[in-house]
């Protein structure tokens, strides 16, 4: 019997969903609301030097990569399953479009993060 590849996508979906549940709300608040509206102790919270140093450290780099890539894999898998509910079924093209999106996001963020160096 041919082995199913669905556990891989399910695992990425689960990991991304967990990460989004744990950190998503606080992350969106910090980057999208608090910093733009200056609800922060200082205006330097997301300045270039600080974030650049964060992204150069392996922990920061790993966190950013995990968040960006796993959020994407979680979301496309969920969207793919929901499209079925509205009558757009899991044909090869639809699968390629969804998972291709996540793959592109993964590769672009990996290349950018690696180019920042350690």
């Amino acid at each position: 019997m041919k082995r199913s590849n669905s556990p891989i996508f399910w695992l990425l979906f689960g990991a991304g969903g967990m990460l989004a549940a744990l950190f998503g709300t606080a992350l969106v608040y910090i980057t999208g609301v608090a910093v733009p509206l200056n609800f922060t102790p200082s205006s330097e919270m997301m300045n270039y030097t600080r974030i650049h140093a964060f992204a150069q450290h392996w922990i920061g780099k790993g966190f950013l990569f995990a968040v960006i890539a796993l959020f994407a894999w979680h979301a496309v898998h969920r969207i793919l399953c929901s499209l079925h509910d509205v009558g757009i079924h899991k044909t090869l093209g639809v699968k390629l479009l969804c998972y291709g999106c996540a793959m592109a996001i993964t590769l672009v963020s990996a290349v950018s993060l690696l180019s920042l160096g350690f």
């Binding site: 989004a20 709300t25 996001i105 950018s112």
Partner: protein
């Protein structure tokens, strides 16, 4: 006989708009829609990382874009979606994970859900503390 059956056009109820028929389905769809917020936010962060790798001017351009009123409005929608996602993620978790036993007794679904929410609160506080670290 067969021509008779093929000429019949039995009524088949349409599935169009099925999720608007029932409150339960609407809650389900709202929950599934949070995936779009997660995907778009992932793209926002990806662009941020790309801009960061292009130098200080590019990074400051990304920060300026985040300050536009439209961006803040969109992020408020993301914020709500992420909260809905976190709430429902841990509500579903007892149904998706293998049964857990402590001292021979099965852990109640509500206990698992509440533990998940508690960890989310702690993780959020930790992240906010980290973001504020060395500031002020």
């Amino acid at each position: 006989m067969s021509s008779n059956t093929s000429a019949r056009r039995p009524y088949v109820r349409s599935m169009r708009g099925w999720w608007r028929r029932d409150r339960f389905f609407m809650v389900y769809m709202a929950r599934e829609l949070t995936a779009f917020a997660v995907l778009l936010y992932s793209v926002v962060l990806m662009v941020g990382v790309v801009r960061l790798s292009q130098g200080e001017a590019a990074w400051n351009g990304w920060l300026a874009a985040l300050r536009s009123p439209w961006s803040v409005l969109v992020h408020l929608v993301f914020l709500l979606s992420m909260a809905v996602h976190a709430k429902s993620w841990f509500e579903i978790m007892p149904k998706t994970m293998p049964a857990m036993f402590i001292g021979g007794k099965r852990v109640a679904a509500l206990t698992i859900t509440r533990a998940g929410w508690a960890v989310t609160v702690l993780a959020s506080i930790a992240l906010l503390a980290l973001a504020c670290w060395g500031q002020s």
